[in-house]
Symmetry: C2
Subunit: 235 residues, 2 copies
């Protein structure tokens, strides 16, 4: 937690927040902060700044907050990910939030196991919890939006063509394609497959609506390695 994320409900008076639970424990146990110590904070979807500890009690920590710094620029990237298995999903959500991705579509594909869609992790609160951890890690405040799309064909053929308007669109897929370009620095949409990859018909569907199929080189990387790897190439 390199930044403590604050929410409206945390304010007990103008400029003063009271934190309990996970954030309080972190402030006390990891930062070992006492009265007068300064911590980095950020308002959800707002500015970042610093907080001075006013009081620590068994059940809470009070801090005086000054928000005076804009959060880092968002990454102009929309990620379209085949829904990963729950354990992987947790890490991926944290990872993409920490990298500054703000639009994430989790979609069904042929090789996504049906059971993944009934994971409790897909409930809005649980998704948000993982995203918060990513924002706190990288010092960002802007909550990413996660969209769930359980039907591949309607999403890709009806919704996705609008999403890619004015953007470059890539499907990352192992094979003899051009390697993903470097330093594109423009708005992009990036589609990445599940364990085992997209099936050829899915790759063709993306191609039909204007995606370029690209590889990451000879090596086949796990999703959680491939995501930072390809984002670092694009931006």
């Amino acid at each position: 937690m390199n930044l403590i994320l604050l929410f409206k409900e945390d304010y007990i008076e103008p400029g003063v927040v009271r934190l309990g639970g996970r954030r309080m424990t972190h402030i006390k146990k990891v930062h070992r902060a006492g009265v007068g110590d300064m911590l980095t904070v950020g308002m959800i979807n707002g500015d970042m700044g610093s907080a001075r500890v006013l009081e620590t009690a068994p059940g809470y920590v009070d801090m005086a907050v000054i928000l005076d710094t804009p959060s880092p620029a968002p990454l102009p990237l929309t990620l379209v990910l085949a829904l990963p298995r729950p354990k992987m999903l947790r890490r991926i959500l944290q990872t993409v939030a920490s990298l500054g991705v703000k639009e994430i579509y989790l979609i069904n594909t042929w090789r996504v196991e049906k059971s993944f869609w009934s994971s409790a992790l897909l409930e809005p609160d649980r998704l948000e919890n993982e995203l918060v951890l990513g924002l706190e890690q990288s010092r960002d405040t802007v909550m990413p939006k996660v969209h769930l799309r359980r039907l591949f064909k309607p999403f890709v053929t009806r919704e996705l063509p609008e999403i890619i308007q004015g953007k470059m669109a890539f499907t990352a897929h192992p094979g003899p394609w051009d390697v993903c370009p470097r330093s594109v620095s423009k708005p992009c949409v990036l589609a990445m497959g599940p364990e085992g990859g997209f099936i050829e018909r899915e790759v063709a569907t993306f191609l039909d609506i204007g995606f370029k199929t690209v590889s990451l080189g000879e090596r086949i990387l796990r999703l959680e390695t491939a995501v930072p790897y390809i984002i670092s190439r694009l931006y």
Copy 2:
């Protein structure tokens, strides 16, 4: 497992291997391979190729092996990592092996918890197990070398100056430094700190022997995200 890694001991006659344990289970349960099916294989520290299933029995699978393809070029990168906590170490070893890193120094720094050095994961067999998983993921055969260095100062001041001879050397450290350069494509040594980072004195020690301090931008990334991110920038 996108490649099944073979060892000398697997051969029961020239060109024929017999696999049991984890690899056999994977071939039967995940690949669902039967007699005649072809699988991608690679000889440890040797060539890659294909194997045809000859026989499956309750305790083993026999395959006829042809090795005819060189493994991917190694990454000309030496990684110097502050020893991460064991849970993180497992994933990091798999990740760096999958990315093609072949030289890894795990070192002590001020903020490395002493208890991490007594993890059973640091035993040679256990290290190798994790590295094998990374090689199998990315389709590589060349086993990375992991060097353990429990004393920061002697390592950095005596051994590291020789290691960086003829290479570019970078310390990744959050701060107002130049961002890590792109597409260096030369042999590099990259030092990365523990959770909480290197202390300033450590950064200065690296600087003294010729390392350039670089940042990854405004965001602070977890080690397992930062490693693929920075490798993708450098190569």
